[in-house]
Every structure is written in structure tokens, then in C-alpha cells.
Symmetry: C2
Amino acid sequence: MAESASKPIRTAITSDDGIDFAIIELFFFAYRDFTSDPDEILADYGFGRAHHRVLHFVNRMPGLTVAELLDVLKITKQSLARVLKQLIDTGHVIQVQGPRDRRQRELYPTAKGRALALALARPQSRRIHEALQGGNAADRSAIERFLKAMVNPELRTQFDSLPSGGAGPSAGKTDGNQ
Amino acid sequence: MAESASKPIRTAITSDDGIDFAIIELFFFAYRDFTSDPDEILADYGFGRAHHRVLHFVNRMPGLTVAELLDVLKITKQSLARVLKQLIDTGHVIQVQGPRDRRQRELYPTAKGRALALALARPQSRRIHEALQGGNAADRSAIERFLKAMVNPELRTQFDSLPSGGAGPSAGKTDGNQ
DNA sequence: AAAATATGTCAATGGTGCTGACGTATTTTG
DNA sequence: CAAAATACGTCAGCACCATTGACATATTTT
């Protein structure tokens, strides 16, 4: 293998190659730092990003069932199990037997879980707010349109079903919870 | 623990809580799908995202040393070792003894490594290009400014040192390689 | 000659994802 | 009512990627 090694290429790939490296790299670095804020908080609890995602969506869509959560996160039941169990054991999430179908377990945040979700979202929101400084409403709108367009079309329904999640007009409430 | 369980909160967290959930969630979904394109290609090679990141930066900054690469990626030497070894063994990356300091190993892509890096970047660039459709130059500029502002200030030098990476005017070449 | 540096490597660990299989409670179907 | 389907939980095992700590080697600096 060392024999067949071709020669080192000493020139850098650039946007001349027809690739938008500027935004590719910006997106990579931006997301890395975007997730670093909650990561630090989570470490204090012995939690990871998986816990964050579960906690986030349970807070955003209270009463969703285990199956619905799996669908949103696009992971398997076994992957969710460990993480969900820890969140329940630590009193951040609570399960309620489904009213109509008692096989179902509706997932709700507790006050503790709500508080943690907010604590995790706060630095992220602050970072976004600061990054938006100096821009006008049109800029924000362009950014939202861009991010939304980056999502696979089939999956755009995911955030359309979130409260005030879509860029759409009405938004409305989740599904009458409360 | 079940005894002390507090009551389920049945109302959803919304942007009323002062948090910008719209962009938080948009960013999450956008990045997930953004990485899914190369992930599929990498799977054919038995590679993961770690390989992608190493290959990308070796192509963007040919001749960087192991220590420099560790600094860019913010991972440990041991995490890099396995991945880098595989890339070298498969002939995607080649090591050259440092000219001035022979302890150093300069990392370069081979033709094979350059081709794979381009193949991985192409779908991402296409996705970005499509997401930018319908917007004008001002929109693109706003998006670039936003993403750049999302990065920790101390780390913004990272993409300023990339060829045509910064939104800045001159950009210039890396460091005279070639 | 001794200390510092750049790299490579070994062993062990943790978090998070996966697949497959199986058990239980509950609802739906025939 | 009995059988099948569904929702969930759990067990065992595997893979990937990251971690820390310890140590070896070659090379450069002091």
C-alpha cells in the first residue's frame, strides 16, 4: 500500500472547484459552537445530547407518545430507552398512561424538566439573538428561509407541527393540551 | 423517586418564554440533513464523520501537521489516531516528514483523497445552492454574517485562515503551498 | 547531556447509535 | 370469545467516535 501511494497534492481545494466551501465550513463551525453551550450544562447532570433532544421535544410537544417521539428523533426504540429511563428516574420527565389507549405512555415534562429545558435553550437563544444583532427583519427572514430550505422536503412537516415553529402565519397551539 | 414525582406540565414551551425556538429547531433539523448527504457516501467506505472532517481539512489546508489538525478539530490525539491511520492506509492521505522539523508529519491528500473530499462536498454544496435559490446577494450576505457570528469569537480565526474561507475581501492563499 | 517537543501507540472507558429477540399489557379484529 | 395486532419495555451484543492516562521513539532545543 505504501508502494502504490500516489503523490501528495500540495494545493488547497478552493471554491474554484465549484463548491461552496465558505458556507459548508461556516455551517460546521457554527453548529459546533451552537451545541457547545448546552453540552457544558448537560455534563453537570451526566447527560448528553441525546437527553437534550428528548427533553426538548417533550417540552415542545407535551403529551407525545413514545412512538411519536421516536418518529421525530428518527432513532430506534432501544436507543431512546436508556436515555428516556434516565430522564424519568431523575424526575425530569413523567409518563402518563394514555387516556384513550392505555397501552400508550404520554410523555410530559415536570417542573424540573421544564426548568432544565429552558436553561439549555437560553444560551442558544442568546447566541442567536446576538448573531442577529445588526441585521434587520429581512435578514432574519432570509436566514429562516435558508435554514428551512436546507431541511429535506419530506421532513419539513416536523417543525410545521411545532408551536410557533413554522415560519407560517397562524401556527396555533399544539393540539389542545391544557 | 416515583413518590416525589411532581405533576406533568401539559402546556408546551413556546417562544413566549423568551426563547427563539424557531431558529433553534431550524438549525437542528438543517444540520441533521446537511450531514446526511456525506454520511451516506461515507458508509460505502466504512468511514464516519470523523474521517470526513479530517479529509476535509487536509484538503483545505494541505501540509498541516498533526498538531495543527488537532487544534482545528478540537479533539484529542488518540481520537484522531485511529481515523487518520485508516485514511493513510487506504491511500487517501499521505504523510510527509516536515522539511524544517523532521519530527513533524505534514499531511497531504492524495489524488484519491482529493476526489473523495470533492465527492463528499458536492451534495452539500448543491443543497446549499438550492437553499439559496430565490434569494439575492444581500440574503446570502446576511446568512454568511449570521453563521459567522454564531461561532465563538476566539475561534473565528479558524476559517479566516482557510483559503477563500472568510467573508473578507482579499482572502489570499493559504501560505504559499504549491 | 538533559529537557522539551511532535508523534505514535496501548489499554481502558463512556455515550450513543444499531439489530434482533422476547415479554407484557391492551386494543382490535374475526 | 379467541386470535392477531399494537405500544411499550427490556435484554444481549455490536459499532463508532470520543475520552483519559501512560509510555515509547525520534528529533530539536537548551
